[in-house]
């Protein structure tokens, strides 16, 4: 019987500008060399659901690390309060996000059982930030789950500093898996088509799947947006993709 154990714990990593950040690490406990996954939490924050995903990646054989992107503004606050504080302050600056993901990737690579391959995944706002990280850092795989504002900028008047990322597409450093809902408006099917075409034009390796009957946040198992068929199929595609690129 194979040894079957994971360890999940809060650790401190060095993020953008060397800032100390809280992060959630989940990893298999054997000595086998493993690929790593930086899991970017969604706008609702560094929450229970995101930590559950990290543990799932660990049970599938990956070193998973979730940096708390709101740690600076809201140390010690509950995830929902921290998310509200961060929203009130305009969200996470793009430059800082890239630095924090780099810090998380470096932390993984410094672990004794890292195989030096690191992927990134995020949902919702984390999907956009996944694309941003994959265009800004040398990574081995990226999974964008319904990230909005990759192709289009936020609506007029929204007090957020970020813009679209389509101009960064030539810098995409790794294969990209995109999982989307056909009934989503942010991002819309038209935006996905545009991104797909741009990636194809630039010869960037990518694989997009858009699910019928699914809108935004179809992976969120405790929300009304959950769509089990899309979510189960999507999880399968994520693990197939990471097995190919992070092994």
């Amino acid at each position: 019987m194979p040894y079957d154990a994971i360890l999940s714990e809060t650790v401190t990593i060095s993020g953008h500008n060397g800032d100390n950040l809280e992060a959630y690490l989940s990893r298999p406990l054997d000595a086998t060399l493993r690929g790593g996954v930086v899991l970017i939490h969604h706008i609702p924050g560094y929450d229970r659901q995101t930590k559950e995903m990290a543990r799932r990646f660990a049970t599938e054989g990956y070193i998973a690390l979730v940096p708390n992107l709101y740690h600076r503004e809201a140390p010690g606050q509950s995830p929902d309060d921290a998310a509200a504080t961060a929203r009130n302050l305009g969200g996470v600056p793009d430059e800082r996000l890239v630095g924090d993901v780099k810090g998380a990737a470096d932390y993984i690579k410094n672990l004794s059982n890292s195989n030096q391959k690191v992927g990134v995944i995020g949902h919702c706002s984390g999907g956009r930030q996944t694309f941003l990280a994959a265009c800004s850092l040398p990574l081995q795989a990226a999974v964008d789950c319904y990230g909005a504002f990759v192709v289009k900028s936020p609506p007029e008047g929204a007090p957020f500093t970020f813009t679209s990322l389509i101009h960064l597409t030539p810098q995409l450093s790794c294969p990209l898996l995109g999982l989307f809902g056909k009934e989503d408006s942010f991002p819309s099917p038209e935006e996905i088509e545009e991104l797909d075409a741009e990636l194809t034009r630039l010869g960037k390796e990518h694989e997009f799947h858009s699910y019928e009957g699914a809108g935004h946040a179809f992976f969120a198992a405790d929300r009304p947006s959950y769509r089990p068929e899309a979510a189960v199929d999507g999880w399968g595609k994520i693990f197939t993709f990471f097995a190919k690129h992070l092994s």
């Binding site: 706008i43 609702p44 509200a84 009130n88 909005a148 936020p154 935004h216 946040a217």
Partner: protein, 93 residues
């Protein structure tokens, strides 16, 4: 979908949080996914005392029809109350 639409307004008033009453001098109002309410989207309001840095807020997540009814009720109350008391004119309910 995540609308990201957020409005921040100054307020003068008080609210009661988990421990005690506090001044609320700012409200963040947004239409987006709720954390707790069992709907895909809601009107969310976070009342805050900006002098506090511990993230404490008085939070509401209202289903859109409830939020509309709340807004209409507030407007109606302000319209029906004499201007000498509200010091507001031209309230449209």
């Amino acid at each position: 979908m995540c609308t990201y639409r957020t409005e921040i307004i100054e307020t003068k008033g008080s609210g009661k949080g988990t421990l005690a009453w506090t001044t609320v001098d700012e409200a963040t109002v947004y239409f987006d996914h709720p954390v707790h309410a069992p709907f895909a989207h809601s009107i969310n309001i976070d009342f805050r005392n900006t002098a506090l840095t511990n993230g404490e807020r008085i939070a509401l997540e209202l289903e859109p029809k409830s939020a509309l009814k709340m807004a209409q009720t507030i407007l109606q109350l302000l319209k029906d109350t004499p201007i000498e008391i509200t010091e507001l004119d031209n309230v449209i309910a």
